[in-house]
C-alpha cells in the first residue's frame, strides 16, 4: 500500500545574502499521506515559508536548493521527481496537482479584473477551455466555501471583504482538483469570527475533496484544531513531528514544550506562562550542535557539540530531534499531572 502523496527527503534550501549563505531549510524529511493535514508550526524566520515555496519550486532567484529529493505521487500512482520537472511540466504540476493559498488574499487577486475572469484565465492556462464546465465547477466550489456564487462571480476583488477574498482564493485553488493544498498562514490577517468560518470551510473541503493539506502557521491553536500531524520547525530544522495529541500532550522536544508554555488559553483560570529566553539564532552563522541549545533549559555539553537527529521517540510516528527528549517528556507529564490535580 502506498498512500504517500508527497515524500520529502533531506531537503536543504539556502539564500545568497551579502554576508554569506543563509541556511533557511536544513535536511528536512517528511511524508504527506493522502487525506492528511500536516501543520508546520514555528516562529518567524524558522524556514517554514521557504520550505513551502520550495515544495512548489516557487523560490526567488536568490534561493538555491542545496540538496534533497521531492517525490510526488500522482493519482495513477506514477511518481514524479519535482526537482527534475521541466518548466512546462512544472506549470502543470502547480495548481493541477498542488495548489497554494497565500497569506495576503488582497495581493493574490488581480484588482482590475473580475473574479470570473480570474477563474477562466486560470482554467485556460491549464488547458480547460469549456467555459460552461468551468463556471459550473466554480459555482459549486463557491457554495462549498459558503459564498453567494452569483454575487462573487461577477465581483471585483475590492467589492469583497477580506474573509470573502480568502474564500475566493481557496475555491480557486481547488478549481483544478489538486491532490495537495499548501496554505501559508491562511487565517492570520482575518477577524476571529471570519477565521472560524475559514477553519470550518477547510474541514469541509478536506472531507469532501479528500485533499492532503500542508498548513503553515505560527499559531499553535490553529494546528491544535485542524491538524492530524504537527511538525515543529526551528532554525530550518524539523525538530519534532508526530500525531497532534502526541506533540501537544507528550512533547519530546524542548522547543515545542517552550512554545506550548508561552501560549495563553481561554479555558480555565489564570495560567503560569513563560517565554523562551533569548532570541532565534542567526541562520548565516548558526550555533553548533542543536540549534536550540543556547535558549534551552535542558541543554548539556552534548547539545552544544552534536546535532541530534530526528528519531522515533515514545509512541508510533512520533519523532523528535532532542538529546534530552526523555527529560522534556518527564517535565511535560509532571505539568499535566499538576494541572489535573489543581483542576480537581
Amino acid at each position: 500500500m502506498n498512500d504517500v502523496v508527497l515524500s520529502v527527503r533531506d531537503l536543504s534550501i539556502s539564500y545568497l545574502v551579502r554576508r554569506g549563505r543563509l541556511k533557511a531549510v536544513q535536511n528536512v524529511s517528511f511524508d504527506l499521506h493522502r487525506g492528511e493535514t500536516l501543520a508546520l508550526i514555528g516562529e518567524s524566520a524558522c524556514g517554514k515559508s521557504t520550505l513551502n515555496l520550495g515544495l512548489m519550486r516557487l523560490l526567488p532567484k536568490t534561493a538555491r536548493i542545496d540538496g534533497g529529493q521531492l517525490i510526488y505521487t500522482r493519482r495513477d500512482n506514477t511518481p514524479i521527481d519535482i526537482l527534475k520537472l521541466k518548466p512546462r511540466d512544472l506549470r502543470r504540476f502547480r495548481w493541477q496537482e498542488c495548489a497554494m493559498v497565500f497569506q495576503a488574499a488582497l495581493n493574490s487577486l488581480n484588482p482590475v479584473i473580475r473574479v470570473q475572469d480570474m477563474v477562466y484565465d486560470t482554467a485556460r492556462a491549464h488547458g480547460e477551455t469549456n467555459r460552461d464546465r468551468v463556471k459550473k465547477r466554480i459555482m459549486e466550489l463557491f457554495r462549498l466555501v459558503r459564498l453567494d456564487p452569483d454575487r462573487v462571480f461577477n465581483a471585483y476583488p475590492h467589492e469583497l471583504s477580506g474573509g470573502m477574498r480568502q474564500r475566493v482564493l481557496i475555491a480557486l485553488s481547488v478549481l483544478l482538483e489538486p491532490q495537495i493544498l499548501l496554505l501559508d498562514e491562511p487565517t492570520t490577517a482575518l477577524d476571529i469570527l471570519t477565521q472560524r468560518a475559514i477553519l470550518e470551510i477547510l474541514k469541509d473541503l478536506r472531507r469532501q475533496l479528500g485533499l492532503s493539506i500542508i498548513f503553515i502557521s505560527h499559531d499553535l491553536s490553529i494546528a491544535a484544531e485542524i491538524a492530524d500531524t504537527v511538525a515543529t520547525m526551528y532554525a530550518g530544522h524539523i525538530v519534532e513531528k508526530g500525531p497532534v495529541g502526541d506533540v501537544f500532550y507528550r512533547s519530546r522536544h524542548a522547543y515545542t514544550r517552550g512554545l506550548l508554555d508561552a501560549v495563553p488559553k481561554l479555558e480555565g483560570d489564570a495560567q503560569e506562562l513563560a517565554s523562551i529566553p533569548g532570541s532565534p539564532p542567526d541562520l548565516i552563522d548558526p550555533p553548533t550542535g542543536c540549534k536550540f541549545h543556547p535558549r534551552c533549559g535542558f541543554a548539556t555539553d552534548r547539545c552544544h557539540d552534536d546535532l541530534p537527529a530526528l528519531i522515533p521517540v515514545g509512541a508510533e510516528h512520533h519523532l523528535a530531534a532532542c538529546w534530552e527528549s526523555d527529560q522534556v517528556y518527564a517535565v511535560t507529564q509532571e505539568k499535566r499531572e499538576h494541572a489535573r490535580a489543581t483542576a480537581d
Binding site: S161, R196, D219, S221, L260, P264, S279, P280
Partner: protein, 341 residues
C-alpha cells in the same frame, strides 16, 4: 472603591471623513480608567479599539463628548497643566519597526524626551537616567545597547526600547496598542510580564488594546475587559467574568470561535452559529443594536429598533448592552420562521 478616575470618556463620538462620507468610528463611548488598573480593549478590526486608545492617550480629539483627565476636561487644560497631562499619558505602538526613528541611536531616542521635558539637570544625570531606563526594560548591559540603531535590534528588543521611551516621562497611564502582536510567540510573555511588573512598581494604569482574547485574559486577569463591536462597547467587566461567564451574544460568539492551543479542547468546542457572517459597514449601520443582523438571539421589534445602553444585567457582574439581558430576560434562539413580511 476608587476615589477619582484618572481618565473618563463621557459620551464620546468620533467620526472620520472618507471622501464624501462621514464614518462614525466611535459612538457613545463611556469609560472610566482608574489609577494603577489594567483595562483591555478587545475587538475585531474596525471596532474602534485603536481610536479609543488614541483618544485615551490624548492623541486624538473627540468629535463630540468629553475626555476628562483627573476630573478636568482635557481640551480645556492649558500651559503646565496640559504639559503634565501629556506627560502622564503615553502610548506604545504596534509596530516597533515603524515607531522608532531608524537614523537615531537608542541613546538619542531616549535622550530626546528627557531633554524636551527638562527631566535631567545635566549630561551625567541624563546618561544615568538612560542607563536606568534600559535596565528597567531588561536591555542589559545598557552599554551594549545605547550606541545601536533600531535595525540592529530584534523586534522584541525594539519593543522594549519603545517601552523605555514611554517611561522617560514617568507616565501615569500607558496605552499599549497591540504592543506584542508583531513579536514572536515565544517572547511575548516576557514582554507582558515586564509591563505588569513595571506597572506595579511605578504605579501606572495600562490600557491594553488587543484582538486576542486569550492574551487579554492572561494580561488583565486582575483587571477589566471591555469588548467593542462596531464603534461601541458592548460588554465591560472584571476579566474572569467576561471570559468565564460572557453575557453579550457577540462576546459569546467570540469566545466560542477562538481556537485553543489544546487539541482536545479545540475539537470539543461548539462554535456559535450566527445568522450572518458579514460584518456591516460603518457607513451603513443597521438600526438598533449593531449586532442584531448576526445575532442568533435577536428579538424582532426590540433589538432592531433602538440602540441598547451599556447597563447592568440581572445575573451578571458585568455591564452589557443587550436588550433582552438588560430586561432580565433569558436569551432565546431567534426562530427564522417567525420572520414574516
Amino acid at each position: 472603591m476608587h476615589a477619582q478616575p484618572l481618565i473618563e470618556l463621557r459620551r464620546v463620538y468620533r467620526n472620520f471623513r472618507q471622501g464624501r462620507n462621514t464614518v462614525p468610528v466611535l459612538q457613545d463611548i463611556n469609560l472610566e480608567i482608574y489609577p494603577n488598573e489594567v483595562l483591555c480593549l478587545v475587538g475585531e478590526s474596525g471596532c474602534g479599539k485603536t481610536t479609543t486608545g488614541k483618544i485615551i492617550a490624548g492623541l486624538l480629539n473627540t468629535s463630540s463628548g468629553e475626555m476628562v483627565f483627573e476630573g478636568k476636561s482635557f481640551d480645556a487644560l492649558e500651559g503646565e497643566a496640559k504639559a503634565d497631562a501629556r506627560r502622564a499619558l503615553q502610548i506604545i505602538h504596534q509596530d516597533p519597526f515603524a515607531s522608532l526613528n531608524p537614523s537615531h541611536t537608542i541613546e538619542q531616542i531616549l535622550r530626546f524626551p528627557l531633554r524636551r521635558h527638562k527631566l535631567a539637570e545635566n549630561n551625567a544625570a541624563l546618561r544615568r537616567r538612560i542607563w536606568e531606563l534600559l535596565t528597567m526594560v531588561d536591555l542589559t548591559p545598557p552599554g551594549d545597547i545605547v550606541n545601536k540603531y533600531p535595525h540592529q535590534l530584534s523586534g522584541g528588543q525594539r519593543q522594549r526600547v519603545s517601552i523605555a521611551r514611554a517611561l522617560t516621562v514617568q507616565p501615569r497611564l500607558i496605552v499599549a496598542d497591540e504592543a506584542v502582536s508583531m513579536v514572536d510567540v515565544s517572547i511575548r510573555i516576557s514582554l507582558l510580564k515586564m509591563l505588569q511588573d513595571l506597572r506595579r512598581r511605578l504605579g501606572m494604569a495600562i490600557v491594553f488594546v488587543t484582538h486576542d482574547l486569550a492574551l487579554a485574559k492572561y494580561f488583565a486577569w486582575e483587571g477589566r475587559i471591555a469588548v467593542m463591536y462596531l464603534g461601541r462597547i458592548v460588554e465591560i467587566g472584571p476579566t474572569p467574568q467576561i471570559i468565564q461567564n460572557p453575557s453579550h451574544p457577540y462576546t459569546k460568539a467570540l469566545i466560542a470561535a477562538i481556537p485553543e492551543a489544546d487539541p482536545d479542547l479545540a475539537r470539543s468546542k461548539q462554535p456559535m452559529p450566527l445568522r450572518s457572517e458579514d460584518i456591516p459597514r460603518l457607513t451603513e449601520m443597521p438600526p438598533g443594536c449593531a449586532f442584531h443582523p448576526r445575532c442568533p438571539f435577536f428579538v424582532e421589534g426590540m433589538c432592531d429598533v433602538a440602540v441598547p445602553e451599556l447597563a447592568p444585567a440581572p445575573g451578571y457582574d458585568q455591564r452589557v448592552a443587550c436588550w433582552p439581558l438588560n430586561r432580565g430576560e433569558p436569551l432565546r434562539l431567534h426562530d427564522p420562521t417567525l420572520e414574516t413580511s
